[in-house]
């Protein structure tokens, strides 16, 4: 993939720019409307994505990463914020006006079993987007075959049904369907996580090929840090609806600033025995909290190792929280963005950088430096 295009430089609008995007899901039950604050699935997320670039989004279940992808396509209506596609604000477009945009922004889904209509043949599935957008004038058969060939399906597959195919093949059908309209941006929601290990590489390589051919922008959402590192130019890490760290891939993986990123990296086991056995893990406290009941201050503080390290320092003002002494800043105040340059930003009171880098962080990322 090509080096990260710098979306910030003056050269026009990026392909996609998202500003302060939020989504709060409200409880729709009859009698609970008044009190509840709702679930803040995505909270003030901003980023941009250039043509030909891949922005990886990693996070755990409940981090809001899937909702984010759906917001960009407006499959879920945003509660606040703006989405600009090719410079045009699409946040307020009506469903009818959106159709034009939908030709250019397509989605690849995680579940290659469920995301294809079991009653339609492969040919019909691939042709459908063209029919929907009025691009089907008899004789587009060749276009169907062309797209199918592009994704590595054979012409004779067109009359078969999804259940006759293996998982990898089905994912190819889903990709063919998305590519039929020649989009500019693909939102990929866990595109390989449901596939067998030996098939993942096939699909990753196919996606890479398609991206290079058409200068596609990829918003690549996944929980697998190794896969995201492999495909992305830049990476965003989400925690409880927020992007807690975003930056160029190599910077983020080799010198992560946010303690959550550090913890994630340290938790991924690597298949090299000596390296893996020699590693120390950051064992996080508990599990990801609930977005209905967000912690005060920094959202990560109940699980953060760095906050606990800092609390031992007599110079840091601490407060009592859930039976533990933690830095007052972490518990009481929302952290501000810290910029390490080159678009590498984290929101943390005590980021892992420079002289403040803890031993834990150094050891945790050793494995992600790459051998050689």
């Amino acid at each position: 993939m090509k080096p990260p295009a710098d979306a910030r430089s003056g050269g026009g609008e990026p392909l996609l720019r998202v500003e302060g995007l939020s989504k709060t899901f409200h409880d729709r039950r009859l009698f609970s409307r008044a009190g509840g604050a709702g679930v803040r699935a995505v909270d003030s997320v901003s980023f941009s994505l250039a043509a030909g670039e891949t922005l990886g989004v990693v996070g755990e279940t409940g981090s809001g990463k899937s909702t984010l992808g759906r917001l960009v396509l407006r499959l879920v209506e945003p509660s606040a914020g703006r989405i600009r596609f090719n410079g045009e604000d699409i946040t307020a477009l009506s469903q009818r006006q959106l159709r034009r945009m939908r030709q250019q922004v397509q989605m690849i889904f995680q579940d290659p079993y469920g995301s294809l209509d079991p009653r339609m043949s492969v040919g019909a599935i691939v042709a459908e987007p063209m029919i929907v957008h009025g691009l089907w004038h008899g004789g587009r058969d060749d276009r169907v075959l062309e797209v199918m060939r592009q994704v590595g399906l054979q012409a004779e597959h067109r009359n078969r049904y999804p259940h006759e195919f293996s998982g990898g093949q089905r994912q190819r059908i889903g990709i063919a369907r998305a590519m039929a309209l020649q989009p500019k941006l693909l939102v990929l929601d866990e595109p390989v996580s449901a596939l067998d290990v030996s098939i993942q590489a096939q699909i990753i390589n196919l996606l890479r090929e398609l991206q290079q051919q058409a200068d596609l922008g990829f918003l690549f959402i996944a929980h697998d840090l190794a896969v995201v590192r492999h495909v992305s130019n830049r990476v965003a890490v989400m925690y409880l609806g927020e992007i807690v760290e975003i930056g160029p891939r190599d910077a983020l993986y080799s010198s992560p600033m946010h303690p959550y990123t550090v913890s994630l990296l340290s938790a991924v086991p690597v298949p090299t025995v000596d390296r893996e056995r020699g590693r120390d893990r950051v064992v996080l406290h508990g599990e990801i909290g609930s977005a209905t009941n967000l912690p005060s201050g920094c959202r990560f503080h109940p699980r953060c190792y760095k906050a606990r390290l800092k609390a031992e320092n007599p110079d840091v003002e601490t407060v009592e929280s859930q039976g533990e002494r933690l830095p007052a800043a972490c518990v009481l105040h929302q952290p501000r963005p810290v910029d390490a340059g080159d678009g590498h930003v984290a929101i943390c009171h005590f980021p892992e950088r420079g002289g403040d880098r803890s031993e834990v962080a150094v050891r945790a990322v050793e494995s992600s430096r790459g051998a050689g």
Binding site: E60, S198, A201, N205, D250, S263, A267, P271, E287, A371
Partner: protein, 335 residues
């Protein structure tokens, strides 16, 4: 292999009838497991890794049938035990932890009810004693405030906590063998680490033999003592981790290592694709099941005609079902 094995399986086979004829999902699988040892079983979906252990426990879903083989638990063959004794073995002899902690628990009973049910089915304990034991094992799997948690319903617990409960249920009767089938696949990576550390800790404390069924080679590197790689219902390679991992003697294992993105290799390292699709068990080739996807094969006559046996390679603890394993070492030396 060692006679001191806590679990030894020889030539286990399981067949499912299908429209296209009988399908052998477990095909002559043999392995042994020592006390306190962790055996990782690696394979893709359909490789027979889960079915092997369902066959060991005689829990193969109908119309599947175990068609042959010996299963020795501490030297005694349990393959021919009557169903009532087999029920006792499950839990007290061999326990299993499944992938999805949500569906493995019954949503309408508290976790305490469910634990007591298991304990009392296997022992003569009074409800009071059983509850005390349940609390003790919940403590053991590091569930905070177990006395409060024991009366919770499954939906009140997080995914990681549910998996801890299932592990507590599995170890309550001090089984000789614990089979963990993809125990963390449904969990987030930070929780995965917690659960696996717990399993490793319990294994050494209780001296159980542990089987870790997984597709994650990283987990194998960290937690296993030995690994068995399965493909199309057969074990194609088995080796001790310390000597054999990463020095594979089978082209399928090699390909697996090269096809996954890894954090410990440079980010731009290209992925080597394993050609083709996973094998269709109803239509296996006459020879080696991996031959159609193998980078070594290139149409070697013997690969196509004979199904290779699992034989010793450089050491008699490192077995491979590829007769051309030497070619892999040559390539290694050349690289």
């Amino acid at each position: 292999m060692s006679d001191g094995a806590v679990l030894a399986v020889r030539d286990l086979s399981t067949v499912f009838p299908s429209e296209a004829g009988p399908v052998t999902t477990v095909d002559g699988v043999s392995f042994s497991l020592g006390a306190g040892e962790t055996l990782a079983v690696v394979g893709e979906s359909g490789s027979g890794k889960t079915m092997t252990f369902l066959s060991v426990l005689r829990l193969v879903p109908p119309p599947g049938r175990v068609t042959g083989g010996e299963v020795l638990l501490e030297g005694a063959d349990i393959a021919a035990l009557p169903a009532s004794e087999m029920r006792w073995i499950r839990g007290a002899g061999i326990a299993m932890v499944f992938q999805d902690p949500l569906t493995a628990l019954n949503p309408v009973f508290t976790i305490g009810d469910q634990m007591l049910e298991v304990i009392r089915a296997h022992t003569a304990m009074s409800p009071r004693q059983a509850r005390a034991l349940a609390l003790e094992v919940l403590e053991r799997v590091h569930i905070p405030a177990p006395a409060k948690r024991i009366d919770d319903y499954p939906h009140q617990l997080s995914g990681g906590m549910r998996q801890r409960v299932l592990i507590a249920m599995a170890i309550a009767l001090r089984p000789k063998v614990l089979i963990a089938d993809e125990p963390t696949t449904a969990l987030d990576v930070t929780v995965q680490a917690q659960i696996l550390e717990l399993l490793a800790e319990l294994r050494s404390e209780l001296g159980m033999g542990m089987v870790l069924i997984t597709h994650d080679l990283g987990l194998v590197a960290r937690y296993a003592d030995r690994v068995a790689v399965m493909y199309a219902g057969r074990v194609v390679e088995t080796s001790p981790i310390a000597q054999g991992f990463g020095r594979s003697r089978h082209p399928y294992t090699r390909s697996l290592f090269r096809s996954i993105p890894r954090l410990d290799l440079p980010a731009d390292q290209p992925l080597t694709v394993i050609a083709g699709q996973p094998p269709d068990l109803a239509r296996l080739p006459a020879g080696c099941a991996f031959e159609p996807r193998c980078f070594l094969g290139n149409g070697r006559e013997d690969c196509r005609s004979e199904r290779p046996a699992l034989l010793p390679t450089t050491s008699d603890r490192h077995l491979s079902a590829c007769p051309h394993w030497r070619a892999l070492i040559d390539a290694e030396a050349g690289a």
